[in-house]
């Protein structure tokens, strides 16, 4: 069993296999966790497709499963996993973060208030917002 932490949140996958820096996931699980789906031409996220790297298709996709670690590194996005291979973080790359900020559309998020109720920034559309960070430390 592997826990995946992605932009979409946390997801536990029973049928996953972590071996060192490799993580084999069913294509359907990969799509549910990350939004990337297997297509004949490669992996696609919405309209954007990334072709299989030349000559490496067999390393990355086999029997309906995808080796997500290598694919994520191929995309140039950061990945980290626990020593036991049971917890994987698939993060967003610096280029995508920079592009989002430079679009000047405020990146949305979903976080709990102290009582546990979730709120997103986009709920406040229509108001001017001072978004400010703080911490107890």
């Amino acid at each position: 069993m592997v826990t995946l932490l992605t932009e979409r949140g946390e997801r536990t996958v029973a049928e996953a296999q972590g071996e060192g820096d490799r993580l084999w996931l069913a294509a359907s699980e990969m799509e549910a966790a990350t939004g990337w789906e297997v297509q004949p031409e490669g992996l696609c996220h919405g309209a954007a497709c990334v072709p299989w790297p030349a000559g490496r298709e067999a390393e990355l996709v086999r029997d309906g499963r995808v080796e997500v670690g290598a694919f994520w590194r191929h995309l140039g996005k950061p990945v980290a996993h626990s020593a036991a291979g049971d917890v994987w973080v698939l993060g967003e790359g610096a280029a995508e973060r920079a592009e989002a900020l430079r679009s000047l559309q405020a990146p949305d998020f979903n976080l709990p208030d102290p009582s546990g109720t979730m709120h997103s920034l986009s709920e406040l559309r229509g108001k001017k917002v001072l978004l400010v960070s703080w911490a107890s430390w």
């Binding site: 932490l5 917890v87 610096a94 709990p112 406040l124 559309r125 001017k128 978004l131 400010v132 107890s136």
Partner: protein
């Protein structure tokens, strides 16, 4: 700190969202109970905000207009680093440092009022070209640091503290300019603040560099 301003301006289509970047959700609660804010306060245990907005310290703020567009990218929220001139034995601040700290805050709050009143006509609401130029983009190591930080936080919550702490240290190594990451993983004193000797050593190592980067706003020290 934002309650009075929020109360003053809330009827003018303005609101405040304060996000506490605290890995232990119980830590910010005493502060929230004491301040009793009526604006939205959120708890961000994985420092999601720092990842999305490339924030490296607290408090930093972003001004967002009615259409969800950034009109001032992340910058220190009127903070001035007067504390660096504090006498560390007596905790006294030189008069000049107190004055400049107050000036920075007053200038920043006045600028928010001006923005709320005048919208895009305010000199402090940056047009798209200037706002774009003010965006500080993260580099690859910062992106890797946020992944390491998230993994560390997850492992610590799962009771795997040793491995989790190693990931937090790795995050700080990858992204040394982040005070958020460093202070979150550093030890805290009896007051719950990460102001141990290691903190002051790190501040002193900045030399002429600023702890709170300069705010590009007329009248700021």
């Amino acid at each position: 700190m934002w309650q009075a301003l929020y109360e003053e301006l809330r009827d003018q289509n303005f609101t405040v969202v304060a996000v506490a970047m605290d890995s232990r959700p119980a830590d910010p609660l005493p502060w929230i109970e004491a301040a009793r804010p009526t604006y939205l306060t959120l708890i961000d245990r994985d420092h999601r905000l720092a990842d999305l907005y490339n924030m490296v310290n607290v408090p930093e703020a972003v001004w967002i207009d009615e259409d969800g567009r950034i009109v001032r990218p992340p910058e220190p929220a009127g903070s001035y680093e007067g504390f660096r001139r504090m006498n560390r034995q007596t905790k006294e601040m030189p008069e000049e440092a107190v004055r400049l700290t107050a000036q920075a805050k007053a200038t920043y709050v006045a600028a928010i009022r001006d923005w709320v009143r005048n919208g895009p006509r305010s000199e402090h609401a940056l047009d798209a070209r200037r706002a774009f130029a003010h965006v500080k983009a993260p580099d690859d190591d910062a992106a890797r640091a946020h992944v390491a930080f998230r993994l560390g936080q997850y492992l610590i919550r799962a009771g795997r503290s040793d491995e989790g702490r190693r990931w937090l240290a790795e995050a700080s190594r990858l992204h040394p300019e982040s005070w958020c990451i460093w202070r979150q993983q550093a030890g805290v004193n009896e007051a719950g603040l990460a102001s141990l000797p290691e903190f002051w050593e790190r501040v002193d190592a900045l030399g002429d560099k600023r702890y709170y980067p300069a705010i590009d706003m007329h009248g700021m020290p």
